[in-house]
Symmetry: D2
Subunit: 281 residues, 4 copies
C-alpha cells in the first residue's frame, strides 16, 4: 500500500474522526504543525470529532489540555471519550448505591456526571462492600495495584454486581522508548483471575463510533461512506472503523512506525483503506 497525502484523502469525505494520542499529540507534546492540519479541516467546513480511549478525565479537561499544549479550537463537545460510554452505561443501567472506581479523583467525574456516588476502591472494605452497586475501571493511577486489585477480586467474587472497563487499552507510551500498563491491562488481570469478561468500552468497540455518528447526524444527514476515521493503532482505530463501516486511514506518527506498518498489517489482517505519514503531510 502506497502512502498518500492526507489532504488528498480527506477531500473525498464529508466528516472526520481523529484519534488523539498518536495522531494529534504524543508523549512529547503536539505532533509538529498539527495546528495547520486542524486549521485545514476547519477550512473545509467538515465536522470533526476526536475519538479517544480515555477515561482518566472529562472532555472539558481534555480540551483544556489541548489548549495548554498550544492547540487552539478543539471544543469539549467535539471530544468523545470511552469514559463517556461508561457514563452512558451508568445512566441507563446504574442502580442506587455507591459505584467503586479504580482511578484518580478526576476520572470519577464520569460517575458524578451519571448522578451516582463514586467511592475509590482504596476506600472499599469488608464493612462497606455491600453498598457497592458497580465497579468501574477508569485509570491506571490513583490506587495501589496490589492491595486494591485484591479488594476488587474479592468484591466481585462476593457480590453480583457489574464491572465496567472504561478504557480497554492495555499499554500507553510514556516516553520515546517506554510504555506503561494501561487500564485495560489492569482490568484484564482481574478478568483472568475471575474467568469473566467485563463490559468493555472504547475502540475497537462500535459504541464510540456510533455515538459520534449520531452526533454528526444531529447536524445533518451523513452516511457511513461519508466519514473518515484517522488513527495510529491497527487493532483499535482501524479495526473499529472498518467494522463500523467507515473508511480508515493509518497515520505513522504514533504506535505504528513507517518501518513496521506493512509487517503489522500483514500479521494482524487489519487493513486500513489508506496510509498517510501524518495528518499534516
Amino acid at each position: 500500500m502506497r502512502t498518500k497525502s492526507f489532504n488528498s484523502v480527506l477531500s473525498k469525505y464529508k466528516a472526520v474522526f481523529l484519534d488523539s494520542y498518536g495522531v494529534i499529540k504524543n508523549h512529547a507534546g503536539l505532533i509538529p504543525d498539527v495546528q495547520k492540519a486542524i486549521n485545514h479541516i476547519r477550512l473545509t467546513g467538515m465536522p470533526l470529532r476526536v475519538l479517544t480511549n480515555d477515561a482518566s478525565r472529562s472532555p472539558l479537561l481534555l480540551a483544556e489540555n489541548f489548549d495548554k499544549l498550544g492547540l487552539r479550537g478543539i471544543k469539549p463537545s467535539e471530544i468523545i471519550t470511552s469514559g463517556m460510554m461508561a457514563k452512558e452505561y451508568l445512566v441507563n443501567k446504574g442502580k442506587k448505591g455507591k459505584v467503586a472506581y479504580l482511578g484518580t479523583n478526576n476520572s470519577a467525574d464520569y460517575i458524578r456526571d451519571a448522578d451516582l456516588e463514586p467511592i475509590s476502591i482504596s476506600k472499599v472494605n469488608e464493612a462497606n462492600m455491600h453498598e457497592i452497586s458497580a465497579v468501574v475501571f477508569l485509570d491506571d493511577e490513583g490506587y495501589d495495584w496490589n492491595k486494591d486489585l485484591n479488594t476488587t477480586v474479592n468484591l466481585l467474587r462476593k457480590y453480583q454486581i457489574p464491572a465496567i472497563v472504561a478504557n480497554s487499552d492495555v499499554i500507553y507510551p510514556v516516553s520515546k522508548n517506554n510504555v506503561a500498563i494501561a487500564t485495560g491491562g489492569v482490568a484484564g488481570l482481574v478478568e483472568n483471575i475471575l474467568g469473566r469478561d467485563f463490559i468493555h468500552y472504547g475502540k475497537p468497540d462500535s459504541q464510540m463510533f456510533m455515538y459520534g455518528f449520531e452526533q454528526l447526524n444531529k447536524i445533518r444527514k451523513f452516511n457511513r461512506k461519508d466519514i473518515l476515521m484517522v488513527g495510529d493503532t491497527l487493532h483499535t482505530d482501524i479495526l473499529g472503523g472498518n467494522k463500523f463501516g467507515i473508511s480508515t486511514v493509518l497515520v505513522l506518527t504514533g504506535n505504528t512506525s513507517a518501518e513496521e506498518a506493512q509487517i503489522k498489517i500483514k500479521a494482524t489482517g487489519v487493513i486500513p483503506d489508506y496510509i498517510c505519514k501524518s495528518i499534516v503531510e
Copy 2:
C-alpha cells in the same frame, strides 16, 4: 433473583427485542404457546424486533420458517440478523472482486444483497485466489471443513483481504442432548491458526442492537430505557443488551435452565435485570 411473570415485566417498557432460538423456538419447534405471547405483545402495540445470531439465510426465509412452524405474524422487516450486519459491512467497505464464503448457497444471499459476487470457498483454488476481495463465514454447513478450512487459512496467509464472521456463536443445540459446532467456532479455529482477530458481528456486539434501535427511532422517538431485550443466553443476549444500555430479561426456555441460571450468573458476572420462565408465563 426471583422469577417474575413476563407480562408484568413487559408492561414497564415501550419496545421489545426478542432472541429467536431459545426464546421463540428451539430444536423441537416452537416454544409451547408462543403464539399467545406474540399476540399479547401485538395487543400492547409496542414494536417488536427479533435479534438473531444467524447468517444462514435471509430475514425473508427466516420469516417463512416461523410461518411454516405455525407462528403467524412475524414480518421479515421485524427480523434483524447478524448476517445483515455482514451485508452492511460489504455495502460500506466492499471492494470489487469476488467474495469467498463459508456456508450454504442460501447464506450467500447476504453477499448478493450487497451487489457483490459470491464464490463458495469450495471453489477457491490457487488459480482464482487473487480475485477474492474478502472472506465471509456465514454458516457451518455447505463446505468440507478439512479441505476448505485449509484453503481459507492459505488464502488469508497469502492475500491481505478482510475476513468477516457473520455469526459469532460457537455452538447450537440440535436436539435435547446434542449440540453442533457453529460458525463462530469454525471461524475461531482459523483465527487461532493465524493469530488474528477477524471482524465479528452478532450479539453481544453492539452493532445489531444499534441497528434495531435506529429502526425503532424511525417509527418514533425511543430512549434506551424504553427497551427490553429478551434472551436465553447470558454471554450474547444479556451481556450485549446490558452493554448497549437497555434492560434485559433472561428466559429459561433455551441455553440456560432453571437449575443452572443462578450458578451461571454468579460464575460469569453477567447479570440480567429480570429472570422469567418464558415469554409465555
Copy 3:
C-alpha cells in the same frame, strides 16, 4: 464417583506425593489431625514427597514452618517446590550477570542457590538494566505492582533475556472467604501485555513430578503405577498427576469443596482416580 477412605486408597501404592496447601495445611493452620495421617504414612514405610507450587521461600524455611505449626517430621529434603525448578533452570541455563526478581528477599534464596546474583526488580532502572541476564517471578509480595511491573515490561521489551515464572498459581486463599492474586496471576499480566509465553514451572507441568520421581528412584526402583498424587486442586495437582501417568486422589479440604467436586470435574474434564474427604479420613 464415590468418596473413599484415604488409607484404603493409599494401601494400593508404594509412594505418595502430597500437595501442601489444601492437603496438609490451609489459611487457618494445619488440617485437623493431619499429624495422624502423616504418622500413618510413616508407619507404612513408603516414601513421601510434598510437591508445592511455592517459590516464596526455600524447602528449609517451609519445613521450619510445618514445625512451627505443630507438624513434626517433614524433612526439607522431602519438600519439592516450583521455586526449585526455577533454580534448576538458572543452574543449567543461567548466564553471568544479575538476575532480577519479583518477590521478597526470602524468595531470592533460589537465585543465590544457583550461584547467581539477585537484584530486586525495585532496584532495576535505566542505568543498570543492561546488566540483567534474566527475570524471575518468585512471589506476589516484596515489590510495588504498579511501578515495578512497568519496569518489568520495559526491561523485557528492550533486552532479549528470559523470563521465568517460578509459581504459576493465579490465586491463593488468605482467609475462609478471601483470596489474593498469586505470582502466576501477576506474571500473566506481563505476558498478556507483551504477547509472550514465559517459562512456567509448577504443577500441572511435568517437571516437578519428574523431579520427585527421580528422587524416589534413587531410593529404589519405582514405576509410575506405584505412585499416588494427593491434591485439592483439579487443574494443578490432578491434571498434572494424570498427565505424568500416576494415580490421583482429590481431597476436599482445600480449593474443591464436597458440594462442588462433581460439578467441577464435569466442567473441566479433569478426572481424579479417587475422591477422599481428607488424608485423615
Copy 4:
C-alpha cells in the same frame, strides 16, 4: 546473535536431540546433504535422538520413511514421538473399554501398543458411546472434521472420560507456500467449544525431553548441560529445550527463515543459545 557453524557448536556437547521436520527433512524431502550431517554425528560417537511432534505413525514407520527418502541409519529406537507419550499415558492410566481416536488407522497403532482397543471416532455413535473410556487426537486425517468433531464434542459433554492430544502442533507445511491445520489445531477447536484444557503431549512440554534424557542415561550418565537440542521452531523446540534446561540451537531450514529469525526471537522472547544455518553447515 551471530550464525555459527553447526559442527563447532556440536563439538561442545555429548549428546544431541534433533527435531525431524524442518531439521532433517521438509515438505520437499530430505534437507540437502543431511546424510553428511548425520554421518558427522555418528563419527563423534555421541548418542542422537529424533524428537518429533508426530502421532500419525509409529517410530518404525517413521524410520522406514527416512530410509525411503534416502537417509540411512536412523533406528526406530532413536525416534521419540509425541504419540509415544500418549501411549505411555494409556499404559499407565488407561481404563478398560474402547479408546476413540481421531486419526488414520496407522496412528491407532499407539493405542494397540498400549494393549487397548481403538475405535475410529467415525464409528462412534449414540449406541456405543458408553463403551468409550478415552478420546485421543492422533492425526488431522482419517475422519470427517464436520461430522466427527461434532461427535467428539457431544461424547465429551456426556461422559466423564479423558481427552488426550498426542500432537499439539497447530499447523504443518505441505508445500513451499502452503500449510495445513494440524492435530493440535483441530483439538484446540474442541477445547474452545467445551472450555476445557485437554492433556497435551509434544514439545514444548517437558515429557518428551525427559523420555529422551532417561534413554540417554540408560547408556551412561549424562547431565543436562551435556545435551544440545536442535530445532527450527521457537515455541516448540527452543522453548521446550530451554525449559528442560538443555542448550538449544535454532536452524533456518524450516519454520524460521534467516530473514525473520531475529524478529521472531524479539517478538516471542524465546531465545536459542545458538543460531545455525542448518545441521549441514
